[in-house]
């Protein structure tokens, strides 16, 4: 049902989005490109429909009515799409068929992974817990008590809210699995727009879906994949505009860039990169300047509701960019991940993030370094690639901004908008190298040997995720077993949250001293230490993190590290907790009776 309803949502996007895309793009885009853009434009429109309806009433009924109404409105568009259905290219080539099968397997794998109970850090922290808070409150609204995270733009968050109300967490995650397929299609369409063959295009799609962090995020509610999808489509439209400029096509680019900014503010940097990439095309063609002005205006209109909301609430339209109020955001640990990289570190980072990603970066996000291996080899077919100047300029400028700007994390996933370009160039490089080695048997053998090693390595990465997630996704493993016994899933606190759900009565609140908010816990009744003495009812229960599993030893053996009360940073409260018996003890956390703790050991504000 979750996959069915998520597919219905995508159909709504396409059916709604095809009209503006047809109007703006005309015959400047191919049927496949128009379809891909229709998904993105429809998604951009749909977020505001969900927001508008949810601001009045947010529950399963209102979301079902909204989905049904948009489904009916999308029917004419879907009929048009059916009549002009783009065909898959190159399926008469056995190599393409083999690659297409792998693309299909990875695409389906990503979608099925989404059915597994959420275990991803940011998904638990806010991508699903904030929608759950709104669902419990009955309407979509800002709750500044939840900190900066509430103020991020919600392109994906709104779609997640719709699916959460209708299907629970599964649908909210499945839309990201489907988004990975759209981003893979965007990578392939970018290759075709750059003059690549169908074999190269399918390879780019495969390369995208095999990136390790793409596989991980496909089964979560994280939002970075949509940046890749929108980024690929923006560059595709930029190339189409460079070939045959039109005001309408520039406006379509603006809609896509605006939608991208509604997903994540990193897109502001991508918009700057795109603008710089277009400058060479403007040389000697001043009559095209209004196109860019109109595109920029459209971007502003699309993202305006978020700018107004945040501006009115905080005085800063781009909040929490350029002025976070979060104590953690100004901490040293946070700042360390926001380093500015200068020459030569900035150039060296391009090597290190693939080759030694555990040294200074966030680990093996790409897996085997096949993108670094093949992308530079696109130089072998340099003259055959069209539109490389704007694409490479956008790549270089975005990368430059990523390394230079102190408010962007130096994490691989913040490079998601560039993934389609990397995959396209790697696909060009791999096919060009194959063309070069094909005539010589020894070279063919060496090429095949390297490809087998890399493919086996990446397959191992992907298989581990599949082995862990698919049994839980298909109901072969109970959520409790999956979430409380799988290594590295410490943050879910599933058993403790379920206990709270059962034992918390209406009107009661609970004090959250877990290491981070968990999606599985009740949200509206949650309070943190800062809320003690806020005039509301005192907490009935206290949920406390008790241990974390560490594997940072030579044998990677699991070791539980006790950390009772580490989240309180309050020695008096910690002492009280350590002396009271827990009323429930979970795998990584426990529940205490708040009345007993505070009455015997500490005042409600934590003082003795």
């Amino acid at each position: 049902m979750s996959i069915l309803l998520a597919s219905a949502l995508y159909a709504c996007w396409a059916g709604l989005g095809i009209w503006p895309v047809r109007w703006l793009a005309g015959d400047r885009l191919s049927p496949g490109e128009r379809l891909a853009c229709a998904f993105a434009v429809g998604m951009t429109v749909m977020q505001y429909a969900i927001w508008g309806v949810g601001a009045v009433r947010y529950d399963a009924v209102s979301m079902a009515v909204l989905l049904a109404a948009t489904g009916i409105a999308a029917v004419p568009g879907l009929i048009v799409l059916w009549r002009q259905c783009p065909r898959l290219v190159g399926l008469d080539d056995p190599v393409v068929v083999a690659v297409a099968l792998l693309v299909m397997v990875l695409g389906v794998h990503g979608v099925i992974d989404g059915l597994a109970p959420p275990s991803d850090y940011d998904t638990l922290l806010y991508h699903l817990s904030l929608p759950r808070l709104d669902l419990e409150l009955g309407r979509i609204a800002l709750d500044p008590q939840r900190g900066d995270l509430e103020f991020f733009p919600q392109l994906n968050g709104m779609q997640a809210r719709l699916m959460l109300a209708l299907t629970g967490y599964a649908g909210a995650q499945v839309i990201q699995g489907l988004m990975a397929i759209l981003a893979a299609a965007g990578s392939a369409l970018l290759v075709l727009r750059m003059g690549g063959r169908s074999r190269t295009a399918w390879l780019a799609a495969l390369f995208f879906l095999a990136v390790r962090t793409v596989v991980w995020e496909s089964g979560s509610a994280m939002i970075d994949i949509s940046l890749a999808a929108f980024g690929a489509l923006v560059l595709m439209v930029v190339l189409a505009w460079s070939e045959r400029p039109s005001v309408a096509l520039a406006a379509l680019g603006g809609v896509l860039l605006g939608g991208m900014m509604c997903a994540k503010y990193t897109a502001v940097l991508f918009a700057l990169a795109t603008a710089v990439a277009l400058l060479p095309a403007m040389r000697g063609r001043r009559h095209l300047v209004p196109h860019l002005v109109i595109a920029a205006f459209v971007v502003l209109v699309v993202v305006l509701p978020y700018l107004l909301r945040n501006g009115l609430a905080t005085g800063n339209p781009l909040f929490p960019m350029l002025g976070s109020r979060d104590a953690y955001a100004s901490s040293e640990g946070f700042a360390a991940s926001r380093l500015v990289l200068l020459f030569p570190d900035a150039v060296r980072a391009l090597w290190k993030i693939f080759v030694s990603p555990n040294d200074g970066f966030d680990g093996q996000q790409f897996g085997a370094p096949y993108l670094l291996m093949f992308a530079p080899l696109a130089a072998l077919c340099w003259r055959d690639i069209r539109g490389k100047a704007p694409v490479l300029t956008a790549f270089a400028v975005f990368y430059g901004l990523w390394v230079l700007f102190p408010f962007t994390f130096k994490q691989a996933r913040f490079l998601f908008p560039l993934f389609p370009v990397m995959c396209a160039l790697a696909a060009f490089g791999a096919t060009a190298l194959w063309d070069a080695v094909a005539p010589t048997r020894a070279f063919r053998f060496a090429f095949a040997a390297v490809v087998v090693v890399v493919a086996a390595n990446q397959a191992a990465f992907i298989s581990v995720y599949g082995l862990l997630r698919v049994p839980a996704a298909l109901g072969r493993v109970a959520p409790e077993t999956y979430l409380t016994t799988t290594p590295t899933f410490d943050h879910t606190h599933y058993d403790t949250c379920r206990w709270l759900e059962t034992n918390l009565r209406p009107g009661e609140r609970w004090l959250d001293l877990l290491d981070m908010p968990s999606f599985y816990c009740p949200q509206a009744s949650r309070m943190d230490l800062a809320a003690l003495g806020d005039g509301g009812p005192p907490p009935r229960w206290i949920a406390v993190v008790t241990a974390m599993e560490r594997r940072g030893n030579a044998a990677a053996a699991p070791r539980l590290e006790a950390m009772l009360g580490s989240a309180t940073r309050n020695p008096v409260l910690n002492k009280a907790l350590s002396e009271e018996p827990a009323v429930f003890t979970g795998s990584r956390s426990a529940i205490y009776d708040a009345g007993t703790v505070f009455a015997r050991r500490a005042a409600p504000d934590g003082r003795p």
Partner: protein
């Protein structure tokens, strides 16, 4: 890709050299990572159905 035989062999040689260089560098830099991963996987296996 339009190349004559000589430039094609040169491209193949350079291309293979580059991908082998990247691959060897990657495994050299991540020996410990893979050793620990394999050990971790051995611990994960009992959790699988």
């Amino acid at each position: 890709m339009n190349m004559n035989n000589k430039s094609q062999r040169r491209a193949a040689f350079l291309g293979l050299g580059w991908i082998i260089c990247v691959l060897v560098s990657y495994y050299a830099a991540n020996l410990d990572y893979y050793r620990i991963k394999l050990a971790t996987f051995a611990h994960i296996v009992p959790f699988l159905p």
